[in-house]
Amino acid sequence: MASKPQIGIVGFTGCAGCQLSILDLENELLDLLGLVDIIDFRMAMSGNKKGPYDILFVEGSIVNKHQEEELKELREKAKVLVAIGSCASFGGPQAIRNYRDNKKTKIAQYGKDNIDKVEVIKVKPINKVVKVDHYLLECPVNKYEFLDFVKYYLVGGTPTLPNYPVCQQCKAKGNRCIFLEDGIMCMGPVIQAGCDALCPSYGMPCDGCRGSTLEAAYDQQVQLMIEKGASVEDITRYILKYNGEDKQVHEFLMEKWKEQDKKLVYQED
């Protein structure tokens, strides 16, 4: 057998939860180490090597020039680059700031006197900086999808993610629809499945951490939320929670929802 694939797992701006999730693969970790060499995983080990990588998994979003440069360098050393989790894929919660007045946000964060001292650019998912070959979703990343990706890579393919809404898995589990029956603002109809409808299975609304499903029906979803009594501000918050830089979310907000929520300002680069 050819030498084992060299794998790196690195993090930028995020909570490091994705990396922790991978470590949490307790039952599978040893088998995994039989198949691949993990050469760079700063969260878990020492003696890390900076590439070259057969697969590099990247967590977190990019928030300053320094990170941009570092990510570009990493990309050059990686054959396959995979975004993991909401931040790397869609900007994550911090991308909310992209829709607010940058100066005001900075004052709130760092104080009036310091705003020129810290360099913060727009929050970017990693595909705004480098080419991304694959996405693994969820907040934190779904560890089984991570494992699947490695397995597929080894047999020479890439797994397809489910391209249908959370409602599929919610119905499959026989859950009560809390959106329909309890008026809880569940985003499941517009969000990509794959988590096994985790939140609705515990009576909690889907917050959208896996990003938009293919051809997500935001117009219809928002219409129903309004009918159920959500305010304009609430709706903006629900939609923006994880996915500010998701293409469909961005388009919906700036092309349609802006008429309702006048406070939305998108900072261009």
Partner: protein, 352 residues
Amino acid sequence: MLSKIISRQDLPKLIDALTNDFLVIAPTYDKKVPTFSEVESSSEVEFDILFNEKLPMLPPKKVFLPAKQTVFKYNLIKGVTDSCDEISDAVTHNKNVVIFGVSPCDVSGVGVLERIFRDNYSDDVFLRLHDKTTIISVNCLDHCYENCFCETMSSNDPKSGYDVMLTEISKSKLIAVPNSDKGKKILRDYPELFSQISEKDSEAYIDALNLKNKNFKTEFLVEGLASHVEDSFESEIWKEFTEKCLFCGSCTFVCPTCYCYTVKEIVSVDLKDGERQREWDSCYFPEFALVAGDHNFRETKEQRFRYRYLHKFVDLPRRYNFEGCVGCGRCVTYCPANIDVRDVLKKIIGVM
């Protein structure tokens, strides 16, 4: 007489007796959702659901075609290690199955699935599970709730597809009418629970059937529906509903006759073992009609919305002589966007 009488208070005893010999599936509540699930004793069964007129959210198809199902397992060296039959037997712990409390419309729904899964090619997993199942139906004497339109879809008086039909002939008594060898065997095997029919019982049964006949009403004419739907191919009606629909697929999953699934391979970490799984899919999803070469037969949402109706009300009737809808109303009850299949059809026919 082959038919027998069972008293209502003996129904729990019947369930308990059945659990000794079968894997019994009956209506229960799971986190406030009426559902069919495996029960170990009659105390778990919600007779409420049966007699207070609620349909379990997921129809009995969940037994034969569950949301996710392994169809066979294989190994790199040994080939197939677990066949379709072995898998289905393991699912039921090598027991035969009884589904208790299936409504007449759901009996019709199972019939639709069975015909489709047996007809062109035989689907071994489905049929193995189906053929080892005895269906005990509980008759409806009136519309069970506001979304039911079974009479319109002629599904509330199935002639086959059930093994025993229980019909209430008074507050305390039900008549058990067997409809197959499996059904006759049930009545024979638990003699202490079934008694002979008296003349009065026979009369009460006729009365019950007359009452049923009187209570059920059709909402619109299904005669000619296929051509109405086909003629409305370019209609604006599809657009009107497409604009409301979330394309969440809920209507297809709760539907007793929607049977589409997708297939995937699950491989072990050491890459030596694998299994083929199938999982519910929906024609409302964008990639459903996507084929090799990136061609999508139904690229727009409107085409997808329309297709469900074309399949149910044009293709299936023409091929099998039945609609792909039994009028259970589940898709109406569980649609987050309040889309009502009856409204769509009435608009198509031009009566709304």
